[in-house]
């Protein structure tokens, strides 16, 4: 039963990978042959239909090849471990090896076109001189704005601090609601699934986007940045915390339950003591991450040192930018070291 499940899962994954790599190849070939105009490229409906047909064709080909004993890349990657045999053949004598090499080469070539990669631009003298001016400015910081930069970085540090602190109670509560070994009842399992989905969606929206949303909602400034970081921290911490809850030792849980503890008492006495140190460790690390993120978030109006940086950058005042970079680097380095030492001590 389990084996069968694994098998069909790995077959689905194989078909997706092989189907996509074939469809990718097909689309690139079609593009080279027909050289479509911009309006044709923007015709999403038709293009996705073509891509989908190619994808299905690829999946069928993959199925056909594998049933004939020719291993595709998808099969090689996703085949269940019980089927895996020791490979004696060189990878360049196998189908999947050339599949892999071909796919990477094609991706690289398309990548060159898509990123408009150009050696000429990189070595252009005018551009190069511009960059030289920039580096000269950064290398010669304007220390007059140092007091302002320090004030702003303090704002950034506190944005990160508040975001972390305010996220703790939410994440603490949610970590139990989204831990599988606690939500193992008939109905509570659905709550667990729902919570996991919400966290995954929330985390997949970058803090940068949350900052844009909140800067519209509460206005540009550190408050918006703090809220954005908080949302992101809640989702990340909840997930990390709940993973800790899922790996606790079952022994104390049984011990406390055998004394007649109810659910809340079981969590408090058997689970919390086991997870509290990792929680603190994760939280300190999150603060450290939040300081770095708060800098970036400032670029889109989240306040703090990031907002200051984007202002000077807009006016091409490179010496001032240099000062800010030095301040950011110093603070990030200090935070990084401090959080590493604290986490080490907590082990």
């Amino acid at each position: 039963m389990n084996n069968q499940n694994n098998n069909s899962n790995s077959n689905i994954r194989r078909n997706i990978l092989d189907g996509f790599s074939f469809a990718f190849l097909a689309v690139v070939i079609l593009f080279v042959i027909f050289n479509p105009t911009e309006t044709q490229q923007l015709n999403l409906k038709l293009n996705s239909i073509i891509f989908f047909i190619a994808y299905v064709l690829g999946a069928v080909i993959s199925h056909f090849l594998n049933s004939r004993g020719i291993k595709t890349l998808g099969e090689y990657l996703f085949e269940p471990s019980y089927k895996k045999a020791v490979e004696t053949k060189s990878m360049f004598k196998s189908f999947w090896g050339w599949h892999l090499v071909g796919l990477l080469a094609l991706l690289f070539v398309v990548g060159i076109f898509k990123t408009k990669f150009s050696i000429i631009e990189l070595l252009n003298e005018d551009g190069f001189n511009g960059a030289k001016r920039l580096f000269a400015g950064i290398a010669d910081p304007n220390w007059k704005i140092l007091p302002e930069a320090v004030l702003n970085i303090i704002e950034t540090i506190f944005m990160a601090f508040m975001a972390t602190v305010l996220a703790i109670p939410f994440a603490f509560f949610l970590s139990f609601v989204s831990a599988r070994n606690i939500m193992n009842g008939k109905y509570t399992f659905w709550i667990y699934l729902a919570m996991r989905t919400v966290f995954n969606v929330t985390r997949s929206i970058e803090a940068l986007l949350w900052a844009i949303i909140f800067s519209v909602w509460v206005g540009i400034g550190p408050f918006a940045g703090m809220l954005a970081l908080m949302i992101h921290s809640i989702a990340s911490l909840s997930k990390q915390y709940s993973e800790m809850v899922e790996t606790v030792n079952e022994g104390p849980i049984e011990g406390v339950q055998s004394c007649g503890a109810n659910k809340l008492q079981t969590i408090w006495f058997a689970i919390v003591p086991q997870v509290v140190l990792p929680y603190i460790s994760f939280t300190v690390y999150r603060w450290d991450i939040n300081v770095r993120m708060a800098t970036i978030i400032g670029l889109v109006g989240g306040g703090g040192i990031g907002t200051m940086l984007i202002q000077y950058q807009g006016q091409a005042m490179w010496s001032e930018v240099g000062t800010i970079i030095v301040v950011i680097a110093a603070v990030v380095w200090i935070m990084d070291q401090a959080s590493a030492y604290i986490r080490e001590a907590l082990k």
Binding site: G251, P252, E254, C259, G260, N262, F269
Partner: protein
């Protein structure tokens, strides 16, 4: 001595993955006896104990609990509060002691009062003076009162098991379940722990149901023994009557008895 405290009738436990751990086991437990359950690993001993205090739910069968002339069927209890009430009257100790490692010994023993104290009070650690006195009394009984304020994970295995006994006693139980209480201890400590269990049995009159591996221990401590094999009852009676022929039937042909002193 003759009064029946627990009457297990045809108990079956099938796990969700299809494994049938107990295939209709029936036996009686007399009040005040030291009943030992023997059998190979996987024979259903632990499952049986856990069905008695409902850490596991039996699939079918009856477990009649005779307490103060009131009979309840443990297998049929559904409400959470009733299960708490049951566990209050049944202490349990485990192979791996199952203490809270980062808490003090005293705080671990106070867990035995969780079923009688309010949830909020317990979470804020507001145990009453009588509760604490009770906990200290049982720590003294197992001879470990001087370690009350030491973290539980600082103690040796034998000491941790004694703390676990004190925790179970603090519940003031009628029955004490012991799931392989000495399986992770060295032979010397093993006897200390078993001696304390006998003391609890004889001085406090608490009925003990205990899973054990070593027949030498069984002969020394048990008043009666039952043997499980593959989820079925194989033997019931006096531990002294288990001879080589019975030993082979319980543990399989070719098994050799190991003696510990």
């Amino acid at each position: 001595m003759s009064e029946t405290i627990l009457s297990v009738k045809n108990i079956v436990k099938t796990y969700p993955n299809g494994v049938q751990a107990l295939k209709g086991v029936s036996f009686d437990v007399k009040k005040g006896e030291f009943l030992v359950i023997i059998g190979l690993s996987g024979s259903g001993k632990s499952t049986l104990l856990r069905c008695l205090n409902r850490l596991h739910d039996p699939t079918s069968g009856e477990i009649i609990f005779n307490d103060n002339n009131a009979q309840i069927d443990i297998a049929k209890i559904e409400h959470k509060n009733d299960i708490r009430n049951l566990r209050k009257r049944m202490g349990m100790i485990f192979q791996h002691f199952n203490l809270i490692p980062r808490h003090t010994v005293l705080s671990n023993v106070l867990m035995g009062k969780l079923s009688t104290i309010g949830t909020l009070k317990s979470i804020f650690g507001l145990f009453s003076a009588t509760d604490i006195a009770d906990a200290m009394k049982y720590l003294k009984l197992v001879g470990i009162a001087e370690k009350a304020y030491i973290r539980a994970d600082q103690l040796s295995g034998g000491q941790q098991q004694r703390v676990a006994i004190a925790r179970a006693l603090t519940q003031n139980p009628k029955v004490l379940l012991a799931d392989e209480p000495v399986a992770s201890l060295d032979p010397a400590t093993c006897h200390t722990v078993m001696d304390y269990l006998r003391k609890v049995n004889q001085e406090l009159g608490i009925t003990i149901i205990c899973n054990l591996h070593f027949l030498s221990l069984v002969r020394q401590y048990a008043t009666r023994v039952i043997a499980l094999k593959g989820g079925e009852l194989m033997y019931e009676g006096d531990p002294k009557n288990i001879d080589d022929a019975w030993f082979e039937r319980i543990y399989g042909a070719g098994a050799k008895e190991v003696h510990i002193n």
